[in-house]
């Protein structure tokens, strides 16, 4: 069962692990050197609150030590325009770190009509006195203290757990405004801690809001303003161990608070991976994935979270729910896992998950294909899906996003590279006659053994050629994926200069992909115009996942809000309209972001009145006193 199994292989594996890490996620934090072995430890919450000495935690209890309180990601990593007006990315964590991005300023100014002269800096420090004093349930606090589970009423800790990363949430923080925040934060260390906390919460009628990675974009973490009880944020980040790995069945049993990058890193060290890589994997947690029905970039090989989960343990006010065995499929009535997956913290806390794991792939290769236009690109993706030969990841960016990605090219060091780039551009636009304002690019990621990857690559490129696609190199592909990791950092940069924006997603049948992309983008532009936005917005999309019967489409939307008195309200109106447009065009309410409170109003239309009744009755049984009172979903 345990981890650091036999001899010489392990260092080899570790080397491969490192290689791979630096390939796909060179932008992810590298593990601290030294032993970060997998510990099959017993729950160690009792008595000492100290962490195991020597163990480097990616996510400390005091998140503010390494992360921004009013923006995305690590405090040391951010974009800024230097004195020469060139964009730079700070820190040492990412591929882009320390590099100059010469094209960004021009793109930024011409796309948004923004100017480096017009700044909107954020409030620099968190003013604790502006935070409401906590409403505490004394009896609950007393009993909880006696269990020894760490807790805090510190204003910073509470503010940190009062929000996700919706635009309005970050915008308010930048202005130093705080709404209702949790009254207390607790850090359970293991399943049993959670059981105790939930028992006490039920006993004292305290509202619990589970908190994993804090990357929600559905207002799921917002405290309901009407909640009068004491609100306790249950932060799972310290429950981050891999409890065992089962190499016979290829499963791992993991505590639900582990964040994606730790899970992959630790499994990689044993030669395994889950292959689950949502764009937020640096910070989002396993429990969060389960609670929102997350989807990973490489789902074509590994599956989405619902395909990966073998067994789940969740603590509810009625007790613990789990299945009695780990059979790979069961016919035992409706699958109770499906009450848990997507429950968005309304029913309980996911504490432990058994997940499928796979041996690490031997070989990975990025790639990219340029198409003369988006229509051809979508036709190609559809054909790839029809032939069921999608690579681990295949994404199609539209023309605007292609240009966006292009603007993020770091400064090239050699004249030769820039000469080559020029040549490539000449070949595509002049020789092949692609219109630079219409062409679009698909990015690809292949995984597997070398031979198969090469074979697979050829098959996909052959299909692409039928739709007028031209192979455009590994570099373009890799940069495409980088965009998804740095986009949230870029939003912070935009917000320094009057530009606000966000992304949202949907899933849609194949025959409507083109229509939904065109209509939603056009709707955004029209709504912005109607709402008095002075400059035409950035309205762009990409097809990020393919399925047999449809695709996932991801939209970016951002605009320059100079001259608007209430930009967030305008933003919300436009996003609302865009969602209406998505639904009117046959798109779903959400593919993987979830519903939270942001999209609740459409739930009834989405799943029907009876469907709502079913979910409500489950909630009523499992949590009759609404202990898990974040009011998401229903």
């Amino acid at each position: 069962m345990a981890s650091n199994s036999s001899g010489g292989g392990s260092s080899d594996r570790q080397r491969i692990a490192r290689q791979r890490l630096s390939r796909i996620a060179g932008h992810l934090q590298r593990p601290a050197d030294g032993s970060s072995a997998i510990v099959a430890a017993e729950c160690k919450a009792h008595g000492s609150q100290a962490d195991v000495p020597g163990e480097e935690k990616t996510v400390p209890r005091r998140r503010q030590e390494i992360m921004k309180w009013n923006g995305w990601g690590y405090s040391d990593s951010r974009f800024f325009f230097n004195k020469k007006g060139q964009a730079e990315f700070t820190g040492r964590r990412y591929r882009l770190s320390g590099l100059i991005i010469p094209g960004l300023k021009d793109w930024f100014e011409s796309t948004f009509g923004a100017s480096l002269q017009h700044k909107t800096p954020a409030t620099p420090i968190l003013n604790s006195s502006a935070v409401q004093p906590p409403t505490l349930n004394e009896a609950f606090v007393e009993e909880l203290k006696s269990t020894g589970i760490p807790l805090s009423h510190d204003a910073e800790d509470r503010v940190f757990r009062a929000h996700g990363h919706c635009l309005h949430e970050i915008f308010a923080l930048r202005e130093g405004k705080f709404g209702r925040v949790p009254d207390m934060v607790v850090w359970p260390n293991c399943h049993n801690d959670v059981v105790k906390i939930v028992e006490l919460a039920c006993k004292h009628n305290v509202c619990l809001i589970p908190y994993g990675g804090g990357t929600s974009v559905s207002s799921a973490l917002e405290c309901p303003p009407e909640e009068t009880r004491s609100i306790v944020s249950l932060d799972t980040s310290q429950m981050n161990r891999i409890l065992w790995i089962d190499e016979k069945n290829l499963t791992a049993h993991v505590e639900a608070g582990i964040v994606g990058q730790d899970l992959e890193r630790l499994l990689n060290e044993s030669g395994y991976c889950t292959g689950h890589e949502p764009d937020s994997m640096e910070f989002s947690s396993l429990g969060g994935w389960v609670a929102t029905r997350a989807s990973g970039m490489k789902k074509n090989v590994y599956g989405n979270i619902e395909d990966l989960v073998v067994h789940v343990k969740m603590v509810t006010p009625q007790g613990v729910i789990e299945k009695s065995c780990q059979g790979p499929r069961m016919s035992t009535g409706p699958d109770v896992h499906h009450f848990i997956m997507g429950s968005e913290g309304t029913l309980g806390v996911v504490t432990e998950v058994t997940m499928k794991i796979r041996p690490m792939p031997e070989y990975q290769k990025y790639g990219s294909v340029v198409f003369p236009n988006f229509e051809q690109g979508v036709a190609c993706l559809r054909e790839v899906a029809r032939q069921r030969c999608a690579p681990a990841s295949i994404r199609l960016m539209d023309n605007e996003q292609f240009k966006f990605g292009h603007a993020l090219k770091p400064q090239v060091s050699s004249i030769f590279t820039s000469f080559l780039d020029g040549l490539k551009k000449f070949y595509i636009t002049k020789f092949k006659g692609f219109d630079p304002n219409r062409l679009c690019v698909a990015t690809l990621l292949f995984e597997g053994d070398r031979e198969k990857v090469l074979q697979h690559e050829k098959q996909v490129y052959d299909i692409a050629a039928k739709f007028g696609g031209l192979a455009a190199g590994e570099d373009n592909g890799q940069r495409g994926y980088m965009l998804t990791f740095v986009i949230a950092y870029l939003r912070d940069l935009g917000m320094d200069y009057y530009v606000i924006g966000e992304s949202f997603e949907t899933s849609v049948p194949w025959d409507r992909v083109l229509d939904i992309c065109r209509n939603v983008k056009a709707r955004i532009i029209r709504e912005c115009k109607d709402k008095g936005v002075q400059f035409s917005p950035l309205s762009t999309c990409r097809v990020t996942q393919t399925y047999d019967a449809g695709a996932c489409v991801y939209f970016y939307f951002a605009f320059n809000y100079r001259g608007l008195s209430d930009p967030v309200h305008v933003y919300e109106q436009v996003e609302h309209a865009a969602r209406e447009e998505i639904l009117a065009n046959g798109g779903s309410l959400s593919h993987h972001h979830g519903v939270g409170k942001l999209r609740k109003e459409w739930m009834r239309d989405t799943i029907s009145k009876v469907g709502m009744g079913m979910l409500k009755s489950v909630k009523d049984y499992v949590d009759p006193n609404n202990i898990f009172g974040n009011r998401n979903l229903l």
């Binding site: 229509d515 639904l583 065009n585 046959g586």
Partner: protein, 676 residues
């Protein structure tokens, strides 16, 4: 609602915004014009050849789906059905070519210069259109008053460097030798008149139309009224084509569709006399090239000016906001045919009516129309006998001009010429109908086309009727301005009530009865009533408070004028009602009905009981039939093959009684279902 309460405008030919298209042609070279560089701003999508268009229709999943169904139903092999579809498509298809547009432009320049003094268009409308064609698929929706309109839009768009449209036309035009082919290559595509239940034909046609809209390569032009109006009054819109045009928006295949109402108005319509005779039952001559050549003699005549007004582009998306639940199309593949749901039907009908109303509002009223309003206030025997005093006519016309402006009309009344001269010249233009002699005006009776039989009294009635109907049709051009206030005037007169509620009740009843006679946008009765109140108040004819509408003595002149304007319609309807209640058979077909009613009305005219000749118009008679069907006083027999109807005399009588003011309108609504 957009555009419904536009500021009243008096158009003057010296208006900066109005441009005479012919002006430049009279000075420049026609060949130069024909062969100039034509570089319109591009439509949203690249151009599509007519064969590619045909192919994508044939390849469409929708057509295949229907073809399979037809194959199963008829038992014929699929290839054969597809073959049929291909030949339908070949018969239908346009073949737009720039060379032929140039030919068309050359020919039309020659013809128009002969026929018209000027062709005025509003430049601001054209400028907004120029913007619109670059954004979304554009649907040009002109009214149809004369064969001359057919290519006028294409002509103007060519002249102003805008993309030339694809035009829906009736199949008879295609049958014309050479001309048919020229029209086809100028962008016309041809639709059979009676499609009936030919499923395959419907499928090909609707997919063809939708493909044109979806591909966005050229504007699409069609007549929402369905056919040429014989009465110069707007026709109740036909919804079939409208459905096809709008469906790509409902199903999300295009982001938006822009509708452009276009109003074409004439000082004098080329076919004026033919139209009047058609209304009296003389069949229209078949469209043929020989006929066209024969008609060239009219090139010698003067038809005054033509006005083409490009209305404000309408966004279907904004208009449908909240009216259509587009999610309903989510659960079926979009190529699988689906009966339009009630909300879709209502929305399409509403939009179509709205466009026709906007066409009305955009149309230009000339002095002659107002003169006809005045002329028809007098009994016909006066006009044909002693004549009308010219001074009285011109005073009345000037008086009604004010009223028209107050009611929001767009007039074309030259400011640089004195009023008497304007009217003199208008009368001169129409010397085929009226004659001015020794300070009096007389109605001229049409020459008898066939003199085989001795002239009987009934023939005399017909000759007079033809002349009256010609006057009436020019009056009709102005009627849309007056109809709402006139209905309120009628309500005041018939009900003798002053209470708003009661007046509104009668007003709504009139809208029901006249639903096919005039254009009322569905669901706007109350606003229409308010609009009528507003205009009557504005011109001082009534005083209005929360509860009551009172008439000051000074308002009687206006009310009487308006009421007399509507009277011929009320009288004609009563005649038809009377026919049904007294004479008519219980079951009849439309073919039998028209001559029978005409005979009945003729008798009444001869006996002096009926004063309006408009009761003889087949158009009015058909409208009464439609209204009665709507009121469920007449029902169509299901089993019947020849459109047979059954009359519920009791219901007809009640309708007649309400119209006469004998019983209040509520009684009518309370009647049990007339079909029982």
């Amino acid at each position: 609602m957009s555009g419904s309460f536009r500021d009243p405008v008096v158009l003057r030919s010296d208006d900066e915004d109005l441009v005479d298209v012919l002006e430049e042609r009279r000075h420049g070279s026609d060949l130069g014009f024909t062969f100039r560089t034509f570089s319109p701003p591009s439509c949203p999508a690249p151009s599509v050849s007519s064969s590619d268009l045909r192919q994508s229709v044939l390849d469409s999943l929708f057509l295949r789906h229907v073809a399979k169904e037809v194959a199963v139903e008829t038992g014929s092999p699929l290839e054969m059905v597809m073959g049929d579809a291909r030949s339908i498509l070949e018969e239908m298809s346009q073949n737009l070519q720039l060379g032929f547009i140039r030919l068309m432009a050359f020919t039309l320049t020659k013809v128009f210069k002969k026929l018209f003094r000027s062709i005025f268009i509003n430049m601001d409308g054209l400028n907004t259109l120029q913007q619109a064609v670059q954004e979304n698929p554009v649907v040009l929706m002109p009214n149809h008053r004369s064969y001359v309109d057919f290519l006028i839009i294409s002509y103007i768009l060519f002249a102003f460097d805008l993309p030339v449209p694809v035009i829906a036309a009736g199949i008879p035009l295609a049958g014309m030798k050479i001309v048919g082919e020229i029209l086809r290559r100028s962008g016309a595509f041809f639709i059979r008149r009676s499609i009936g239940s030919d499923k395959l034909y419907w499928a090909v046609l609707s997919e063809y139309v939708r493909t044109i809209i979806r591909k966005e390569f050229a504007p699409f032009e069609f007549y929402v009224e369905g056919l040429r109006s014989r009465t110069l009054k707007s026709l109740t819109p036909k919804l079939g084509m409208m459905h096809m045009v709008l469906e790509p928006f409902f199903k999300g295949e295009v982001f938006d569709i822009t509708l452009v109402p276009i109003s074409v108005s004439y000082d004098r319509v080329l076919e004026e006399s033919l139209l009047a005779h058609e209304l009296l039952g003389v069949p229209k001559p078949r469209e043929s090239t020989a006929g066209l050549l024969k008609a060239t003699r009219i090139l010698q005549e003067d038809f005054g000016s033509m006005f083409v007004n490009f209305g404000c582009p309408l966004s279907v998306r904004s208009l449908c906001e909240g009216r259509i639940d587009r999610c309903r199309f989510n659960l079926r593949p979009r190529h699988v045919p689906q009966q339009p749901s009630a909300d879709v039907q209502a929305c399409v009908s509403w939009l179509a009516h709205l466009v026709v109303r906007l066409q009305e509002e955009g149309s230009v009223i000339g002095p002659w129309s107002l003169m006809c309003c005045q002329l028809l206030q007098n009994p016909v025997h006066v006009l044909t006998g002693d004549g009308l005093d010219w001074q009285q006519l011109s005073d009345g016309t000037v008086w009604s001009r004010r009223l028209a402006v107050d009611c929001g009309a767009r007039l074309s009344w030259s400011g640089s010429v004195s009023d008497p001269d304007v009217m003199t010249s208008a009368a001169a233009l129409h010397r085929s109908v009226v004659q001015r002699r020794r300070g009096r005006v007389y109605l001229l009776q049409g020459e008898e086309p066939e003199r085989r039989r001795p002239i009987g009294s009934e023939d005399g009635v017909m000759r007079t009727a033809a002349a009256v109907l010609m006057l009436a049709s020019y009056r009709n051009q102005a009627l849309h301005v007056f109809v709402r206030p006139a209905m309120l005037a009628a309500a005041l007169n018939v009900t003798r009530s002053r209470r708003r509620e009661q007046l509104l009740g009668f007003f709504c009843f009139l809208q029901d009865v006249f639903s096919h006679e005039f254009i009322f946008v569905p669901g706007r009765s109350t606003q229409d009533f308010e609009e009528a109140c507003f205009y009557l108040k504005k011109c001082g004819a009534v005083n209005i408070d929360d509860q009551e509408v009172t008439v000051p003595d000074s308002g009687l002149e206006v009310l009487s004028f308006l009421q007399k304007l509507l009277q011929p319609f009320i009288d004609s309807y009563q005649v038809v009602f009377r026919f049904f209640c007294e004479d008519g058979p219980q079951v009849f077909s439309e073919k039998q009905l028209l001559p029978a009613v005409r005979q009945f009305a003729t008798k009444l005219i001869l006996s002096g009981e009926l004063h309006t000749y408009e009761a003889l118009s087949s158009d009015t008679q058909k409208n009464v039939l439609s209204a009665l069907r709507r009121l469920q006083a007449v029902t169509k027999l299901r089993a019947s093959e020849q459109n047979e109807y059954k009359v519920n005399r009791e219901a007809v009588r009640r309708t007649a009684d309400v119209l006469a003011g004998k019983i209040p309108p509520q009684m009518l609504q309370a009647t049990p279902d007339a079909r029982l």
